[in-house]
Amino acid sequence: MAYTADGKTVEADEEGYLVNINEWSEGLAGEIAKAEQINMTPEHWEVVNFLREYYNEYQIAPAIRVLTKAITKKLGADKASNKYLYELFPYGPAKQACKIAGLPKPTGCV
């Protein structure tokens, strides 16, 4: 499959994860989110931006606990739960948020 953003077509795999993560852009993230039926709010962007920062440093998405901790620091203690992340990304923060952030899908027993 493929997404179109800013007049450019970007290739994705059969599940909608980008084939080339360097082709990501904020406009593209909006398109992926639309396909996932997610309305991007500032809170969604906090998660997506953190995932990208973490990925740039570690070449992998952060563990859920690492993500929860980072989001709590940014958005406040009332957002300190896996549940809150699931409210933002109903298909699961790891997989759905990674997809929107243009990162590869976490694999394994997760």
Binding site: M1, E15, G16, E57, Y58, I60, P62, R65, G108, V110
Partner: protein
């Protein structure tokens, strides 16, 4: 991705045999591996041109190598005992998900190419030659088997459908028709050391974060050691324990047990995976290569013991095959089992008083347990028969004041697979994963309604991920799913042990 379609079946009261829905699951196909997933494992990148001959040749090789395979294919008497035992059949009604029908997918081909009557009489004796349609049926239905072996428990001849499904996947890999989910993951283990693809710096960062968290929460400096040469115990756990919830809460529990026992332990960044997907694809060489990482890490870190964390098929490979795959482990301390399950270690520590649990920490819960299929039907956790059932129950009852077992037809050796085992824990198979969980959820609903059960403990990374994903489709909260050692973690008394 276009949303993967699914339907959620209505729960029945156990035991209910569904009416047949032919072809209900025939279109459900897991993603096929591309060359980038296939070739690093030594498999052809795409379906080879002469796949029919190649598949027959590979089947011949396996029949020569694994006598059991030939016996299983020859000896079925079509008694029907297995027909209503598979969770995927019970959830979907698709007759090809009856274990005998799944076996017949291979049996038909076997008869045609490998038996004299099949060669002469063909379809009259159920012998069928390869067609593309049959290969597609193989691919789809052998990836709707979680290799849980519940059917084999009820087969009067002990025919093991898991072994047939493993052989089928091995044959398909050899002709270039592999499954993306399993083969991509195996590639990551070879390259990075674990199923997740978690590189060492990320692992270090994650473990440091856990040390901070536990210190904040308890005031105790519980360590999560990595690559410590000379530690006594090499601890190997599924990489999902580093990443997902409720897995990580179990990891915290293991660390607290080691801490309180005063054991010197370490994890390894090289062998940062307990799971062994080589088994799912029936490939001995892949299974051996993955297992060898554990041996190499044990030698390199000069440990005396190997302990495994909560992971079902990892424990099957460890318990049943580790010695033949990666042994001999004569360099380890012979006083300990090689390898040992964390449940045996924790149980022993409770019995000896090395750790103390205050079960009132879990007084808000009524807990049941899901026996993981691979642990239940293929292993023990200690020397006694049935220890794989008694040890987790002992630990849970020490950690929780209220424990209730589910129906005997859904527990212990009769346990149902979670619905996501054997290489099916992938998003595109969500429909069969939901349906396959139906018998378990029915048994769970029963104890929820009868006994007020609030949580279900699990001892396998796949089970934990599968249930947190599919329970909500049946109206249950994902937070119901707990790691056994998460409940230990809540209850363990830290400190005061010199």
């Amino acid at each position: 991705m276009a949303k993967v379609p699914y339907t959620v079946p209505t729960l029945d009261v156990l035991p209910t045999v569904p009416s047949i829905k032919p072809g209900a699951m025939s279109e459900l196909k897991s993603y096929v591996a591309v060359a980038a997933h296939q070739e690093p494992l030594g498999f052809p990148g795409e379906l080879v041109a002469n796949w029919e001959q190649a598949a027959v040749a590979k089947m011949g090789e396996l029949l020569g190598k694994y006598k059991s395979l030939r016996v299983y294919l020859d000896m079925c008497v079509k008694c029907g005992a297995c027909t209503d035992k598979c969770h995927y059949f019970l959830g979907s009604g698709d007759p090809k998900n009856m274990p005998v029908a799944r076996q017949d997918l291979m049996r038909d081909i076997y008869r045609y190419y490998f038996t004299p009557t099949g060669k002469v009489m063909g379809a009259l004796v159920g012998a069928k030659p390869w067609t593309r349609e049959r290969l597609d049926d193989w691919y789809n239905y052998f990836h709707q088997c979680s290799q849980c072996r519940r059917c084999s428990l009820f087969c009067p001849y002990g025919i093991d459908t898991a072994e047939i499904s493993m052989a089928a996947r091995e044959i398909m890999d050899s002709i270039g028709l592999g499954q993306k989910y399993c083969n991509e993951i195996i590639g990551k283990v070879h390259k990075i050391g674990n199923n997740l693809g978690l590189p060492e710096p990320a692992l270090v960062n994650t473990l440091e974060g856990l040390e901070e968290d536990v210190l904040d929460a308890t005031g105790h400096a519980v360590k999560f050691p990595l690559d410590v040469e000379g530690a006594d115990v090499l601890f190997v756990t599924p990489s999902a324990d580093f990443f997902a919830e409720p897995h990580v809460d179990g990891l915290i529990g293991y660390a607290k047990v080691f801490h309180q026992m005063g054991l010197s332990w370490t994890m390894s960044s090289y062998a940062s995976e307990a799971g062994n997907f080589g088994m799912f694809i029936g490939n001995y060489e892949q299974m051996r290569k993955i297992a060898m990482r554990i041996r190499e890490a044990a030698i390199q870190l000069k440990v005396k013991r190997i302990v495994f964390g909560e992971c079902g098929h990892a424990w099957r490979v460890a318990y049943a095959f580790l010695n033949s795959l990666a042994g001999p482990f004569d360099f380890l301390d012979p006083r300990y089992p090689v390898p040992q399950h964390i449940m045996e270690l924790t149980r022993g520590a409770i019995l000896s008083g090395a750790i103390k649990l205050d079960s009132s920490a879990n007084a808000d819960k009524v807990v049941t347990v899901h026996d993981s299929c691979n642990i239940a039907r293929a292993t023990r956790m200690g020397p006694e028969p049935g220890s794989q059932f008694e040890y987790p129950r002992f630990v849970l009852q020490a950690a929780c004041p209220k424990f209730v077992d589910m129906h005997p037809d859904a527990t212990r050796e009769r346990t149902f697979c979670c619905g996501g085992g054997g290489g099916l824990l992938t998003d595109e198979l969500i429909d069969i994963r939901i349906k396959g969980a139906k018998p378990r959820v029915e048994a769970l609903r029963d104890v929820v309604e009868q006994h007020g059960v609030t949580h279900m403990a699990s001892m396998c990374a796949i089970c934990k991920s599968q249930f947190t994903k599919v329970l909500p489709y049946y109206g249950y909260d994902m937070g119901m799913v707990q790691s056994v050692h998460q409940l230990v973690s809540n209850a363990i008394l830290l400190g005061g042990n010199s």
